[in-house]
């Protein structure tokens, strides 16, 4: 049976999540996004041309280690908790249809000058509205500064 009680989303969960992220050591992460005008040349498809990624800042986010590396050579994994307000703003700015599109388009995320690869994305929602995104990320092997 359908729940017909009135529950108008008022965004309180989003504001609480953003406040908690700020209070919990919130910082800024930057998604690496493709340029608005892509490189359609052959050189751009075979790794000759620089991709010209753009940096799209997201804040507040909380960055934390997800688990300890258990084997030699295994890179540690981290979690990035991202405010849904920041994600919504980025989705609007990029004129995308969804947060999923945003994260799918991103080639990685830069936190404190280090590049991480996005492995999985999940969202927590209240009253049908996401208020927090959780990104499982892994350190990229390349040690170049970004």
């Amino acid at each position: 049976m359908a729940d017909l009680s009135t529950q108008n989303p008022c965004g309180v969960a989003r504001r609480v999540a953003a406040a908690l992220l700020r209070a919990g050591g919130g910082t800024t992460a930057c998604l690496q996004m493709p340029p608005l005008q892509g490189d359609s040349s052959i050189a751009g498809q075979i790794g000759l041309d620089a991709p010209g990624f753009l940096s799209l800042p997201l804040a507040p986010v909380v960055f934390r280690k997800a688990r300890v590396a258990m084997q030699d050579g295994q890179l540690p994994k981290y979690e990035l908790l991202v405010s849904a307000q920041a994600v919504e703003s980025a989705v609007t700015q990029q004129k995308l249809s969804s947060a999923q599109s945003l994260f799918t388009m991103a080639s990685g995320v830069v936190v404190a000058g280090k590049l991480f690869l996005i492995e999985a994305i999940s969202a927590s929602a209240s009253q049908g509205e996401p208020y927090l995104y959780r990104l499982l990320i892994q350190e990229a092997c390349g040690e170049w500064p970004v």
Binding site: G38, I42, Q45, I46, P51, E119, A120
Partner: protein, 162 residues
């Protein structure tokens, strides 16, 4: 060897536009034929569906010939979950369509080697040629079907080529 890899990819890409123009994708803000070189794109946690991904794995060289003959193993990976219109129940048919396209992409089994580091690309003196595809089994992951076709690509190292 890089020229041979580039030639192989561009050949297959150009053939795909003729075999199935509808198989396209938007990657890094560019709409292009649905085939990519995995090591020339950003790492992806999940493979893109309904496109071909080229991965270079094995390498061997025959040094007994007047010019070095490089043998490179290429894996063409592809996956599908069917179409939304058919709620994914056509994923078997969609994979079969991609199997068929692999045959058409690879035939004929040779191409003129090109140097794409120059603009315009310059024809080189030898050909790149490759074997018939060796299809692996279908791998099922939830509603996704995927397969890998292996091809051995041969190319002579020309003078001055890296």
């Amino acid at each position: 060897m890089q020229n041979a890899k580039d030639t192989f990819y561009i050949t297959l890409r150009n053939r795909l536009t003729a075999v199935n123009p509808a198989r396209s994708m938007t990657l890094r803000s560019v709409s292009r034929p649905g085939i990519l070189v995995a090591d020339a794109e950003a790492p992806m946690p999940q493979p893109l569906l309904d496109v071909f991904s080229i991965t270079w794995t094995g390498l061997a060289a025959d040094l007994q010939l007047p010019a070095i003959l490089a043998q490179m193993t290429c894996e063409i990976r592809y996956a599908t979950a069917g179409t939304q219109a058919n709620a994914g129940l056509d994923r078997g048919r969609a994979l079969e369509e991609m199997d068929s396209e692999v045959f058409h992409l690879l035939y004929p089994y040779s191409a003129q080697k090109m140097n794409y580091t120059q603009n315009p690309a310059a024809a080189m003196e030898t050909m790149v040629f490759w074997s018939e595809p060796e299809f692996g089994p279908i791998v099922t992951l939830r509603d996704r079907l995927s397969r890998t076709a292996k091809v051995t690509v041969f190319a002579f190292q020309e003078a001055g080529e890296q």
